[in-house]
């Protein structure tokens, strides 16, 4: 029997996200879901699996591979694709590959511009997608707090924060002209704690990089980074030390700060998160370039 109690907040968030994903599948002809392999992507994939069961996820997943991801992320990605049977599209910027772009040599800004932002535009243009489902959350950063769940982009993938479509109730305007697109954020209303709690509750697989383990790390630009492969410059590599660390976010390993930690289980990670006093994006080097950095990146087409 159905209980008369109100649904818990996680059940409500889950139902809302599923509604949003179904709305995309029903209203767009060529949708795609961004897949970045991290915890938020893992939750999104899980929600999509639920939304369309017993059918498979009806849209492909797109991974923009900068070629500087942790190697474990790539293994995890391929395993998930074969376990769940979704269609996976991987794109890397050929221009960047030719230039041999490296965060160590070219810096985080150029690396991100070419291997992420430009690569994303290429992949979206090539796919001709009309809806792109992303895993951004409103609690992540101040400029995200104002973004719609269905966020309109013009032909050049640009976001106009001052001219957003009003979004009321749970009625989403999915109308666009040819060449335009909508970015859809089904987990907008989830917080970092919600994500972790849901992963714990639903037993969702995530890469082991989130869990503390002894790993070779070195200090780079004031942050501890992993020595994930041989491309780490020798002058850094020689100072590498083995430390028990984990990662709060996953991205390009030279740009992802490791934190020293003993949290090797989900409850311990959640405990650490609740007791820590720095926000999640702290570990991401790209946000600190300049004040209002994220807002500028988003206007240019970054997710």
């Amino acid at each position: 029997m159905v209980s008369e109690k109100r649904m818990t907040h996680l059940k409500q968030l889950e139902a809302e996200s599923i509604y949003i994903m179904r709305e995309v599948a029903a209203e767009f002809s060529n949708p795609v879901m961004m897949y970045s392999i991290g915890k938020d992507s893992s939750v999104m994939l899980h929600l999509a699996m639920k939304a369309f069961a017993p059918a498979k996820v009806p849209f492909p997943l797109l991974h923009v591979d900068t070629k500087w991801k942790f190697h474990e992320m790539i293994d995890f990605r391929d395993k998930r694709a074969s376990d769940l049977g979704f269609k996976l599209i991987v794109h890397s910027n050929p221009r960047g590959l030719d230039m041999d772009i490296s965060p160590f040599v070219h810096g985080s800004k150029i690396h991100t511009d070419i291997m992420k932002t430009e690569a994303l535009k290429q992949a979206l243009d090539a796919g001709g997608y009309d809806a792109i489902i992303g895993g951004a959350r409103r609690d992540e950063e101040k400029s995200r707090a104002k973004e719609r769940i269905f966020s309109f982009r013009d032909k050049n993938h640009r976001w106009d924060p001052k001219n957003q479509r009003p979004e009321l109730w749970n009625i989403y305007n999915t109308r666009i002209n040819k060449g335009e697109s909508v970015r859809v954020f089904p987990i907008s209303n989830w917080t970092e704690l919600d994500i972790w709690q849901y992963i714990y509750l639903e037993n969702i697989p995530i890469p082991s990089l989130y869990f503390a383990k002894e790993r070779p790390v070195v200090e780079y630009e004031g942050t501890l980074i992993a020595v994930d492969d041989d491309r780490v410059p020798d002058e850094l590599k020689k100072n590498a030390k083995i430390k028990k660390v984990r990662f709060r976010t996953l991205g390009c390993y030279p740009l992802t700060g490791a934190i020293e930690s003993d949290a090797d289980t989900l409850p311990k990670i959640i405990k650490e998160m609740l007791l820590s006093r720095s926000s999640e994006r702290e570990g991401r080097l790209i946000d600190k370039d300049q004040e209002g950095a994220m807002e500028k990146k988003k206007i240019e087409g970054y997710f």
Binding site: V2, R6, M7, T8, H9, L10, K11, Q12, L13, E14, A15, I18, R22, E23, A25, A26, H46, M49, K50, A51, F52, A53, P54, A55, R138, D139, K142, S143, A145, K146, P161, K162, R165, P166, E167, L168, W169, N170, I171, N173, R175, S188, N189, T191, L193, Q197, N203, P267, I270, K271, L274, L275, S276, R277, S278, S279, E282, E291, G292, E295
Partner: protein, 482 residues
């Protein structure tokens, strides 16, 4: 539980903490106030005191306080909240922003909207999903025109709980008389607007009085602090199981053996075996199986349940193979809403280009999209004075009662009975913009929209004779035979 105790539980027994927090409920509220009512300060205070603000964000706010701040050496809490760079430079909030925090009882989503008149559309947007509204009133100024405006929108959007935060009490020496005067003034206003539940709190957002903890500066006040009130206010809706409403969102057909109808239950509940009617076609069947999307896991991709209720996301299958598509509404056969193409509605116009009577727009209601036009503007409401005016077009931020004519009939509920099936957006067919929002006030009966078979009504002998008499002597009336 205080936040200190909460931190202790987290360190001592995280699993226990997680268990407790799995069962939290969610509450969405809207804050209304103008630039100088201290609204951003109040939200900053809630986030800060509930320890939602992290150290790095605090440091960022400190550095920004030096650049844009208005509070001297103290951290400007408002800067924790005001999002976009362009807004910070202007010192105003220009759009709807959503904030999150939680206590051990509830997860909160705040819709933070600006108070300027030209931004009515943002407030309507924020109000559309809110369960509770917090209306800020400056204790020195009392009820202003903008208070009337905010309260009108709150009432129009059907928010049943209004918390009146009488702010800046520190500037009137926490004077009880000031509080009582504003309270009684607001009661009169609330009566006029038929706002169901009102709560009053004397407050200083800047100093933190009665925000999270009860203040010792207001010994005469025996109510709760804002956060205590939010934690305990009963927002459960009267979800009568028999009023089942299921807008079909997506038809799931992975193979020839399975044809499921996906959607989120808008109201009521449904069980396997229930007799159902599909609207507007009127076809009937029975529920064969229900999949609760929440129950699905990677190992179990096909699990069914006996019953489900609003607002669960489910997939239904039916006993008979009947034609059902996106935009249809499935309801209980014994509880069918009106089906009509003629609606009385309240419209909020949200676009720079005025609304024209007779022009065709797309109307999206739940998952249904139809073409429609406003046949007639009954009256426009002045949201400051609540006076009605006769107008022939609607401009940005206008609110009006209209007669809406759709190109085909839909199953409709009144907004006051069901937010999800009684609300719609208006989309411009050329620009694709969302140009308006609407709420169904009434649903007309029209002969050609009838879905209830005529035999359901039993006519008396006298009625039958009257019908025969009319058909015989007044054929030009085109009277139907019963």
């Amino acid at each position: 539980m205080s936040s200190e105790n909460m931190r202790e539980t987290i360190s001592d027994d995280i699993e226990k903490y997680l268990k407790e927090h799995e069962n939290k409920s969610m509450l969405r509220f809207l804050t209304c106030g103008s630039v100088d009512d201290g609204k951003s300060t109040l939200i900053g205070r809630l986030l800060y005191d509930s320890k939602t603000i992290f150290e790095d964000q605090l440091l960022a706010a400190e550095s920004e306080s030096k650049k844009y701040g208005t509070t001297g050496d103290k951290i400007d809490l408002a800067l924790l909240v005001d999002g976009l760079q362009s807004e910070r430079e202007q010192g105003i909030t220009i759009d709807v922003a959503y904030r999150f925090f939680s206590t051990d009882k509830r997860k909160y989503i705040i819709a933070d909207t600006p108070g300027h008149e030209q931004y009515t559309r943002n407030m309507v947007t924020g109000a559309s999903t809110a369960d509770v509204a917090v209306i800020l009133i400056d204790a020195r100024k009392g009820i202003l025109t903008q208070t009337r405006r905010h309260s009108y929108i709150v009432s129009l959007l059907g928010i049943e709980h209004v918390i009146v935060a009488i702010n800046k009490m520190d500037l009137v020496d926490f004077d009880k008389e000031v509080y009582e005067k504003i309270k009684s003034d607001y009661e009169a206003l609330a009566k006029e607007l038929e706002i169901k539940n009102r709560y009053y709190i004397p407050m200083s957002a800047l100093e933190g009085d009665n925000v999270v903890q009860k203040s010792d500066k207001t010994p005469w006040y025996d109510g709760k602090s804002l956060l205590e009130l939010l934690d305990t206010v009963d927002i459960s809706k009267d979800n009568k199981p028999e009023n089942f409403r299921f807008p079909v969102q997506y038809v799931n057909r992975p193979n020839l053996d399975f044809r499921g109808f996906c959607g989120t239950i808008a109201a009521g509940s449904v069980s396997v075996g229930d007799e159902i009617t599909v609207l507007p076609s009127g076809k009937t069947s029975r529920v064969k199986s229900i999949i609760d999307a929440g129950d699905i896991s990677e190992d179990k991709r096909f699990v069914t349940t006996q019953s489900a209720k609003a607002p669960m996301a489910i997939t239904l299958t039916t006993e008979d193979e009947i034609d059902i598509s996106r935009g249809d509404m499935i309801v209980h056969t014994h509880n069918v809403p009106r089906v009509s193409n003629n609606l009385k509605v309240m419209i909020v116009w949200m676009d720079e280009t005025p609304m024209e009577v007779g022009r065709e727009y797309d109307i999206k209601r739940a998952t249904t999209v139809v073409t429609g036009k406003v046949e007639h503007i009954n009256y426009k409401v002045d949201i400051n004075t609540y006076k009605r005016e006769v107008v022939d077009e609607l401009h940005l931020n206008d609110i009006a009662s209209c007669r809406l004519n759709l190109n085909r009939a839909i199953a409709a509920d009144k907004y006051k009975h069901n937010r999800d099936t009684g609300s719609f957006i208006i989309i411009d067919r050329i620009t694709n913009n969302t140009v308006g929002a609407g709420m169904i006030v009434d649903v007309a009966r029209r002969e050609h929209d009838r879905v209830i078979p005529a035999e359901e009504r039993h006519y008396s002998q006298a009625e039958r004779e009257l019908n025969a008499y009319i058909r015989k002597h007044y054929p030009e009336w085109n009277c139907k035979a019963i």
